[in-house]
Symmetry: C2
Subunit: 364 residues, 2 copies
Amino acid sequence: MQIPFTPLVAGLPSTTPFVGPEAIERKRGRTFKARIGANESAFGISPRALAAMQQAVTESSWYADPESHELRSALAAKHGVALDEICVDAGVDSLLGLTVRMLMAPGKNVVTSLGAYPTFNYHVAGFGGNLVTVPYRGFHEDPQALLDTARSSKAPLVYLSNPDNPMGTWHPRETISQMITEIPDHCVLALDEAYIEFAESDIAPPIDTQNPQVIRFRTFSKAYGMAGQRVGYAIAHRDLIAGFNKVRNHFGLNRIAQVGALESLRDTEFLATVTAAVGRARQQVMALAESLDLYAEPSYTNFVAVDLHSTERATAMIAALAERDIFMRMPGATPLNRCIRVGLGNEQEFEWFSQEFRQLLQNV
Amino acid sequence: MQIPFTPLVAGLPSTTPFVGPEAIERKRGRTFKARIGANESAFGISPRALAAMQQAVTESSWYADPESHELRSALAAKHGVALDEICVDAGVDSLLGLTVRMLMAPGKNVVTSLGAYPTFNYHVAGFGGNLVTVPYRGFHEDPQALLDTARSSKAPLVYLSNPDNPMGTWHPRETISQMITEIPDHCVLALDEAYIEFAESDIAPPIDTQNPQVIRFRTFSKAYGMAGQRVGYAIAHRDLIAGFNKVRNHFGLNRIAQVGALESLRDTEFLATVTAAVGRARQQVMALAESLDLYAEPSYTNFVAVDLHSTERATAMIAALAERDIFMRMPGATPLNRCIRVGLGNEQEFEWFSQEFRQLLQNV
């Protein structure tokens, strides 16, 4: 008997956006000592969120509030928007899937940068769209080319991350604001700001929920250190948020995660500590690269792209680091893949990395 | 500017499968004292799982293993199936959405019972299918009519829950086994066994992952008491599981929930305690109904349907119970909606409910 998959799903490749470090560990038969490849935070979570979540585990038997009312209220207050201009979901990955699903009919074109976030591309393929990619300009995404391509390909959706992953680069707020004014009429900009807390006062354009052409994506996974808890949110015009509510999994959020996100939001002191620590850790990596005569791209994220001048060398370095029990990833597309993406670890992880990296550079 | 929703999403109603108790509380301006309306467990979670999750909260900064390798291994061992015959995801709700998406192209018919699980119906609508419903036979789903309708409507998917929600009724394993042998060639049976732990040895047909026409859905939300943690899984032929892996949100599972599910699975003693306690609580509700000359439908779940003989009376009772701070729900369709669905609470909750219910019966 032939399984009656839809033609779309039958035609999809068996692929995943990322292989997790645990899978690599199982294959190697050995754990990593430094886990600095998945842009997870090495600076922990808010102690207040930790305590609140440990307490909330006792409430595991109850579903979370499907309207995330308390958390959305706090987010609305923080961002100066209305309650119905925010959608909370189990991570930005899930929200990106919903975004693609609600705006992109099968067969339509969607625009992103070549080498940008693979999970967005996974959703575009999974819902039957055509991905149209625009090359990076050097190590930066190219807003103007993205818009031009969105226009020429009649795309209902264009993706940009600021700061960007996998390079850590950014555009100033004026550039993004200008981009927003030029979005073609038929198109919505998915503005992924997963790393914005590291740069908010410098580069985030004002949030304008009157504009139905922009969705801002934020997460508790990066600066707040809650990747394992799966909480992300979208800020947008209420009609877009109403669209999310038509298709989202209403009871999909973890109750304990919701408690943790709310408490994290209240702990502004912790956030300031983390962003400062991330800033120092970035300087360490920059200094290390400089001491080795390597170019490191200035970053506004919790990782730094270090240029090894060739894909072969970068690939060999990632493999060699893994041999030495250091988990790291590299960008997947030209011209980015001459770099390795150095995640900012704790002091011990940085020490391990810098020691191994110095040695390995002579051989790879 | 018109938001470029897909025609499908633009045409969807703004609806949710359930309104959460928190939303009702906000509207009332008062909390419930007894929360026995959402089939959550009043018997808590495994103390081992509790301790493991409180510990695991310290690892919130790391994504969960997207392959859920440890948990799937334990589940595979428990069910005597292979690792690639199991898919773990953030709750059965999410898995039902993926199932609809991968088997039902837009415009296709999908079959379920009138009054069965609304979230399944929500996904069918959300992915553009036509829901074809089959009436209950009394207070039981009707396997033969479901199959006949699946055949006549050329449905790629038919849904049955055993035991069923919202009535708590069940079919013996022989009936389900017979149903499985008669599934039309073009069709897959989504067999929702969310409550099976309360009845497994009595009614679950053997798991046969050689058969590509059945997906078994299981959850940690009910007997394991982990509704707020969102962990469910599907057991099926490896080709079906491969389908899930093409479309699922690979990093969607909460890391702490995964730890809790694994530990819950190991705590077989706790599960036995819960199923025994649920059995006793069911007897209490049955005895209460009998003492009031009401018919209560025998149940294999953590709730009991009590017949109030008319929809008006059942509706009035739910409203009156809410007035007295007791959260309860009732079935949504004829002929089930002459009943109220009495969730099994703890001793205190049962006492509150029985006291209020006795009084209210005289007025509503």
